[in-house]
Symmetry: D2
Subunit: 256 residues, 4 copies
């Protein structure tokens, strides 16, 4: 299956890294905002040997319509920014290219556009696309469901310079319907990223902990989504939709 990647920042590079090393997926091209790396291959920049093309283009010098015709893809994976979807959305959807977006925040306009596109193709959006964090959300809401009165607290740890509460911690609080007061943010040194959900029962404690090792986890997550989106009909999907079949014994492609 052929993939076009939007974005080549830190996350985009890590995702390209994982796709290039996958034998099930081929990285056809990367589309980035600026033309500083035009026509180079991501393989050379990342130092990976692979049969994939992985040519880098820029939004300013290449017409997306022509790109999709000359180098057709099955999936677009979007690690660019809020505006990326305006650039490639309509033309991709009209060609039934499946869209996987990992953009952190979308405005109202973009959410409306996603819903529009979902009438023509399968559109997936998740602000945090790692399996681990999404499993955590799923498993935590299950326990909350079993024990609605349990005390829940969140501890999230990140590098010193990360400002504000982590988006993932906010999402956990929202999903579990707990106050943001219950989020404890530790900022120290170079901690990559850790989220811990503590369930305090009177006589026992359950903890769900996710630790990030590197951004490549975004790549594994995106490919896991692609595998499970492959045979999905048009519509708007999130990570929970991808995980649910594993509970109900429906056909689903496992994480590898």
């Amino acid at each position: 299956m052929k993939i076009g990647l939007l974005g080549f920042g830190k996350a985009g590079k890590a995702v390209a890294n994982v796709i290039l090393q996958s034998s099930d997926f081929s990285l056809e091209w990367i589309l980035k905002k600026t033309d500083t790396l035009d026509n180079l291959s991501a393989k050379d920049i990342l130092g990976i040997s692979s049969p994939d093309c992985a040519t880098i283009y820029s939004q300013s010098t290449v017409d997306i319509k022509i790109l999709l015709e000359e180098h057709p893809v099955d999936f677009i994976i979007d690690f660019s920014n809020e505006n990326g979807i305006h650039h490639y959305g309509k033309v991709s959807a009209s060609k039934q290219i499946k869209i996987i977006s990992a953009i952190s925040h979308y405005g109202e306009n973009e959410v409306r556009l996603l819903k529009e596109l979902a009438k023509e193709t399968a559109v997936f959006w998740s602000p945090n696309i790692t399996l681990g964090v999404n499993y955590l959300l799923f498993a935590a809401s299950l326990l909350k469901n079993i024990a609605p009165g349990v005390d829940i607290e969140v501890v999230e740890e990140h590098f010193k310079t990360k400002s504000g509460v982590s988006g993932t911690a906010m999402k956990i609080a929202e999903t579990l319907d707990i106050e943001t007061d219950s989020i404890n943010s530790v900022r120290a040194g170079g901690i990559v990223g850790k989220h811990e959900v503590i369930f305090g029962f009177p006589y026992q404690t359950v903890r769900l902990v996710h630790e990030s090792i590197s951004r490549e986890a975004f790549g594994s997550g995106a490919l896991f989504v692609a595998e499970n989106l492959k045979n999905k009909q048009k519509g708007l999907y999130n990570f929970e939709d991808i995980l649910r079949p594993f509970f109900f014994g429906e056909t689903a492609k496992s994480f590898s």
Copy 2:
């Protein structure tokens, strides 16, 4: 709902403690092996005020048939030992009293007897009856299902004098189909009990951790089972049967 309790060792006492403090359940009596506390009330021994009778009888001085007639119960909760079920099983099942057994190990004879009794009443058996450990098993096997190739290791910590690998850790290994080599047993000081399942992915780690604070967790677990067994038909149930309805939106009574 009325409860009869088998066993008054450390676990039995803790369970009695929790039932006596519950307003939904009444502890009618306790049946223990020896007659050292005959006709005393568990309330006095535990120092709890409660409207429940909680009279202590012994197997040697009281006929179980007469006990069940004079002091009828809806549930028998068994924290005695492997042989307890032979004492009360048949007569209880014939009266449709529901049976909740937390016995660690049963021989073949006892398992056969449980199946026999399950033809007449609802019979529940779980070697570890805490919600936390059973949730851990459930959530862990779900993640294993999503990511069958993930590396899994177990670390269990208990007090210095605990011999052998913990039964719960063995159960985790069996459920997740991993080698017992992957269980690491830490024995130090007075650690009450901790089980940690580590899922190591290439770029991220997920940990599920259960920590015991006190044996009263057995009592909460037993009452949670009782709540959810109340309307169940005859048959043999385990903890997974109790948890499954929470996934599928079926009616289930939450943990409190």
Copy 3:
């Protein structure tokens, strides 16, 4: 060595429990505020067999001067309250009885009194008398000393109903000279007590963690202090004074 204990609340009972089980120390008597248990033995109340007397007296019915004459002791261990020291301080100091106080907070008057008494006998005061917490303070300030610019955060976890930031966490912040903003307080279920000091370096993390299992830790700590105070001259001591000889190879009695 003979011990008189002030206070018989939850902490006092746990301390009595440990002293009664020690073969190096004898619990002569317990002095409590109210006379509800007058002349009973702590051995019966705690269900421990021991050659110690451990008779319970009350401040209202027994004259401390007469008590110390009829039942002389080498140490007074104080788990009562702020005012206890006024009751036994002067008379004990005049008899060179060593004083070990574990009172959480003293007012100015009491601190002045302690200093006064320290001119006549060895007086020890520590608001948290467990070895673990004091070792943590010591080891943490050492690391801060080595790496003054390191990011430090504290996470403390306690049972849901504990109000305010834990006194121990405040003490850690004060000792390490960090803002109280850096203390994260988790309150959930029945967690007994956990303090974690996180040192975040750019490329590595060091964590010092103390977990409480039961109040008996106060008893072990008090006896460890007694052992090491035995040969000390008059003066005012804290836990750091007890730990320091272990660094410098001076004679010190190890913890057991």
Copy 4:
């Protein structure tokens, strides 16, 4: 102060990275085994701008004697291999260049050579040169000293493919005089490296935990050693020698 670096593997590169970013030290040159990068600058390879030269030479094409004359240094930091010391040891020592070796294992010959060289210059050797691990060893042996009878267990976690027990865990066991049976090795996914020493007391638990984030920690450690070796006389030093002055209030340069 000027530094010459031996070795440019994964660890060597990370160390070069840290030295290049330090304003107190200048990376004069790097000496590696093979000539594949001859005469290139580590700055270009690592993408760092710095006033340092950081030229790469190879042992086969450059005479160490001439190198040290044309590009004199104050320190040699050795991240090469067991044999490196034979190449640069004698000539460096004769010029009173201080030697900092982070080689994991030395044979008897090399240890003898180190002792020989230490008669002429300050020679430092530590198989794990991070501050965190060495602090852990120091703090752990202190607690063992205070409480010789405490139960100690070690849990070390590393990436799946790491074979054998970690050298650091072996060192911890040796330092604390515990059986290697007490080391629990977890191997899963991409875990960078974690060492946890658990002290189990009857009523409390103390844990010392070190987590590695990246190999750059070796660089910080090496520079910390260099700072503190600067004014040291000839002799053989290890990390404990560097840490000890922080206890005794002697002059020492803190970690930054």
